[in-house]
Point group: C2
């Protein structure tokens, strides 16, 4: 049984492919290719592609095709700068609004003494790292803030994941997340802000060392030659 493929699902699939670098940055594809790939008409494909263009994940050039957004190191730095401002505000607001219970739960989840090397897969850690920051943003009670932070994450995810192979970084992350939670439990706004600032700047420093060479991977175009089996 093949369940019906809808525009929303196409959007999610394409978005994942782009964020996971399964579609090479800068590569080109057409609406028809995607439509054939998902065995649907161009209509739902266009809907998905237009959403992706609004999020500036792709660029649609009239009468030419769609192009996966290129990773520009300078722009990544921009997103990091905005991220610092946004997350500082998030900590500040969450410090006032989040209940102790929620903070204790987060603190326990990132307790460094619970960390066993190799027990967690690399991918899982990366996902949890993002979820931690989103959780704090949601704790601020400010929906707009959550939306912007989500958008930022979607744009920096590439380098965030690449520059993260070593165990000491993971250890540090646990410690820093734990510290932030503890400071927030003490309702120490200034302390939590400072800790978060340092935490993000550290991540930015790692991102800065990613070179463009590391990004240009062999990734090919999955849509070529997939018309019909």
């Amino acid at each position: 049984m093949r369940t019906k493929v809808t525009a929303q699902q196409i959007y999610q699939s394409l978005r994942s492919m782009i964020l996971d670098l399964e579609l090479a940055p800068g590569s080109r594809f057409t609406e028809t290719q995607v439509a054939d790939y998902f065995q649907v008409s161009r209509t739902p494909v266009r809907e998905a592609l237009q959403r992706l263009e609004v999020e500036s994940q792709i660029t649609i050039r009239p009468k030419q095709g769609c192009f996966v957004r290129v990773v520009d190191i300078a722009r990544i730095r921009d997103y990091y700068d905005v991220r610092v401002a946004i997350e500082t505000l998030a900590v500040q607001l969450a410090c006032t609004h989040m209940p102790d219970a929620a903070l204790r739960e987060l603190a326990q989840q990132w307790d460094p003494t619970h960390l066993f090397f190799g027990a967690e897969s690399s991918d899982r850690i990366k996902q949890a790292e993002e979820a931690f920051h989103i959780a704090l943003a949601q704790g601020s009670g400010n929906d707009a803030l959550v939306r912007y932070l989500t958008d930022i994450n979607d744009h920096i995810r590439v380098v965030r994941r690449l520059g993260w192979p070593d165990y000491s970084s993971i250890e540090d992350t646990y410690a820093e997340h734990h510290d932030i939670c503890r400071l927030m439990l003490n309702r120490d706004v200034a302390g939590a802000e400072a800790c978060m600032l340092q935490h993000i700047r550290k991540s930015q420093a790692r991102a800065d060392q990613i070179t463009l060479a590391q990004l240009s991977e062999p990734a090919r175009n999955p849509f070529e030659g997939t018309a019909l089996q």
Copy 2:
């Protein structure tokens, strides 16, 4: 001669109608109504509506219709909080990056001694006020920051304009904009940040006094009964 109406133009038109409150918040309309209004098919209309939904200016309920986003005072407060964080960063960055010439031009434009009461129309002032903040954001050289601030403006414009009838506010705005420019020319980051903070909080205080009653205006649905002349 009637030039061809394209999806992009429909998007712009609808967006203006919503932001200018020509479409009552909460009111409902259908794709077919808009298509008839612009004398085009549903296809380009759908494209425009989907973009507006991504920006959360409208909500599309499957098989029901499109609904203009309702103005939620609490959410406006949220946007203002984020705006403070974003614009503080903008001032900080622009203080480093903007050339003297650009700053002097802005300072001159907002020189209080050049202000003549009644010389400028109210609408024009409101537009210039927004342009000033966007100009500073662009001066930061951070494209992501500009995008987010633009999005914020689109969501707070409603109250920003409503709570702004009096001349003393305009006078204050000129003085504050001028002060910010002067401080930035002196490359006084902390001073400029503080001035900007106070400037925005003042605007937020005005926005807080807007009541929902002021927002529920008689505005009707322009799409009803406009099929063909």
